[in-house]
């Protein structure tokens, strides 16, 4: 191949794009489907040679803030996270619109329509719109790569952070990507306006006006963006707006080209003139979005006026879930093509603990104590491999809401009088958002038992290092948990009786107890052994 082409997943294309566009730092907390951006940067020899920062942060908020600090110094930063991670980072994210950027910042939000590995399917474009920031939404791997370049350029031109929004499908799908010549990293250069990042009300009001004034310019950029394309068609009975990856599903159904005018829309705020043209020239507009009907809603408006808009709201497409070629086909009014249905004997195969996982032994002990000794025993769990105990054969988990919520929900339940109130949280999740909740418990000496399952890894997302490594006991002690009630156990079958005893004792103790079952994840252990053996 004469051209410099690599086979890359969407996530990898974004990371390679950032490296080639002169990024100086990657910041992230793992989360499907965004994880592979940081992992790619960590494994990249180029990134190592260029001395690019590429280490995990404690959570998405600390990642976003570190990226802002890098930008403050005039350098380019990329911060990546899954959609719910953006909620955690929402405070610095929204405020970064008001401070603006110095060096370019790209915030990558990886959404998960259909909730393949998530608690919800919120659409990050809406948060970027809320923060008044431009959005790039690639239709394919090549655009994902190219948008790193375009993103930094726009970010520095207007001194604003930009969002790069993808969905699971693109994140984890591979295709050929043609690389561009690499740009140099920016030199350290502090903000010209010394007050740019000082959001005191008087300053913030001024900066906010600048952000608002920029909106028209952002629209202008979208009008002429090479990623937004108006492709005319002879059949004006319908116009189609295809956002991001939805464009592919449209074209899949028209192998010889679409007969209707199409607006391929991959950069926002929405290009008003292009949309006006499509609306004027066609009888109705079908909007294809892989996510929430953000554009459809804004076209339709509150009053459902003269423009005929179809999409997820009107039922041409399902209101929720991921788009695919079949759903788009139906929305276009074409007949289904479908193979035979799966025979009835095909059983569901939900995910499960790995054989030999320490979480199994920990839950066996927890379940025995909580369900046999106490009628009201509830287990507030959190997010990680250990959430799988909500499924058979354990079915011992009563909640899983957002990272850190186990400890604080147990606290609230204890406040309400529930006894015993147990929380189960993983080591990585604890460092992400559990520590502050534990401090709340300590301050009030709440009657809770908190299990921190320490498997030396962020296992659910593929076994990344955990910030907790070797620090859990010291953290709990430092937050003020009584040393006598920080109990370390080794979750093995042979230690079952000992674990049961420890749990009983700590439930009976009226105050904050922390039990730390400590044994490494089988998967990360296996990988290490394999490496050592090679």
């Amino acid at each position: 191949m004469a051209k410099n082409v690599m086979m890359l997943m969407g996530d990898e294309a974004i990371a390679q794009g950032a490296i080639d566009a002169g990024v100086s730092g990657f910041y992230a907390y793992p989360g499907t489907p965004s994880t592979e951006i940081m992992e790619y940067a960590q494994h990249s020899k180029d990134a190592a040679a260029l001395n690019i920062h590429r280490q995990w942060s404690a959570n998405e908020k600390t990642a976003m803030e570190s990226a802002l600090g890098m930008s403050y110094c005039g350098k380019r930063a990329m911060v990546s996270m899954k959609h719910v991670g953006l909620n955690v980072a929402a405070d610095p994210f929204v405020n970064s619109g008001v401070t603006g950027a110095n060096g370019g910042i790209i915030v990558v939000a990886a959404d998960d329509p259909a909730m393949h590995s998530s608690q919800n399917e919120q659409d990050s474009r809406i948060l970027a719109q809320f923060a008044l920031l431009p959005i790039f939404e690639p239709a394919n791997q090549q655009e994902a790569y190219d948008m790193a370049f375009a993103g930094y350029e726009l970010s520095e031109k207007y001194k604003t952070p930009v969002m790069l929004r993808i969905t699971t499908r693109l994140a984890h799908s591979r295709a050929g990507v043609e690389l561009k010549p690499r740009l140099k990293q920016n030199a350290l250069k502090l903000p010209e306006n010394k007050r740019q990042f000082v959001l005191l009300p008087g300053i913030a009001r001024k900066q906010y006006k600048t952000l608002i004034a920029n909106q028209a310019k952002f629209v202008e950029e979208s009008e002429k963006s090479p990623f937004n394309r108006y492709i005319d068609g002879a059949d004006k009975s319908r116009g189609i707006i295809a956002c991001g990856i939805a464009y592919n599903y449209l074209m899949e159904n028209y192998p010889n080209g679409c007969p209707h005018p199409v607006l391929k829309l991959c950069q926002y705020p929405a290009p008003k003139k292009l949309i006006e043209k499509l609306v004027k020239e066609t009888k109705e507009v079908l909007v294809l979005e892989d996510g929430q009907p953000m554009l459809e809603e804004s076209l339709r408006g509150l009053l459902d006026r003269d423009v005929k808009v179809k999409g997820r709201i009107t039922g041409e497409l399902p209101r929720d879930g991921e788009l695919n070629p079949l759903f788009v086909r139906r929305a276009l009014g074409m007949a289904d093509i479908c193979g035979a249905p799966a025979p009835a004997i095909v059983a569901a195969r939900p995910p499960a603990f790995c054989v030999g996982c320490g979480h199994i032994d920990a839950y066996n002990a927890i379940k025995q104590v909580v369900t046999t000794g106490y009628e009201d025993g509830h287990v507030f769990a959190d997010i990680g491999c250990y959430t799988l105990a909500a499924l058979p054969p354990f079915e011992v988990v009563n909640s899983c809401v957002d990272m850190g919520a186990s400890i604080t929900m147990a606290k609230g339940a204890a406040d309400a009088g529930l006894f015993p109130a147990c929380a189960v949280i993983g080591d990585s999740t604890f460092c992400h958002s559990g520590m502050t909740g534990l401090l709340d418990c300590v301050i009030e000496n709440s009657n809770v038992v908190i299990f921190i399952l320490d498997n030396s890894a962020t296992a659910m997302t593929g076994g990344q290092d955990s910030h907790a490594l070797g620090r859990l006991q010291a953290i709990c002690k430092g937050l003020g948990v009584d040393e006598k009630h920080i109990r370390i156990v080794n979750p093995l079958k042979k230690n079952h009786d000992e674990m049961v005893q420890v749990i009983k004792e700590e439930i009976e103790y009226k105050g904050v107890s922390v039990i730390i079952p400590t044994r490494e994840c089988i998967q990360t252990l296996g990988k290490k052994n394999k490496k050592g053996g090679e």
Partner: protein, 194 residues
Amino acid sequence: MKSDIILSGVGGQGILSIAAVIGQAAVSAGLHMKQSEVHGMSQRGGDVQSHLRISDKEVFSDLVPHGGADMILSVEPMESLRYLPWLSKQGWIITNSQPFINIPNYPDQKAVIAEIEKQPKHIIINADELAKAAGNSRGMNMVMAGAASLFIDIPQEKMEGAIQFLFGRKGEEIVKSNIAAFRAGREFAQKKRG
């Protein structure tokens, strides 16, 4: 030429090594390729699939459309049936016969095989056994890749070149034994197809 393949199995069985071999061969043959994978929660012993699309024309969708797959290539028999809605009328099911039982309600094995045999075009292989016979007890995936290769319009040398390319780093021995497993699968499929 176009080859749309649904690869299926159970998280942890390593279907991605098959996707890597076929995908690499497609790229070296100068074809367009898109391949989507499942990462995340399902990898913990849940059902996983990969959509592999190869064509001499531009490939748009990362997903194989329903009713559009030329092949379901499965390393587990029940999993091959899960994706029937994606299989085209002329499509092949090529599956390993050895079940991966990690759920209490796994159906009767004979009934599973009977369902597969109802499909007009199918090849059922005991890939675990063939791999062992080829001297590569961990080569089940390469046996399946070999069987599939017969139905994909890419020269055999390109496929074997892809194995060399992907496993060369691990040493000549590994490459050789993977190629042996690959050939065993291909020969078996050849006999079955007639």
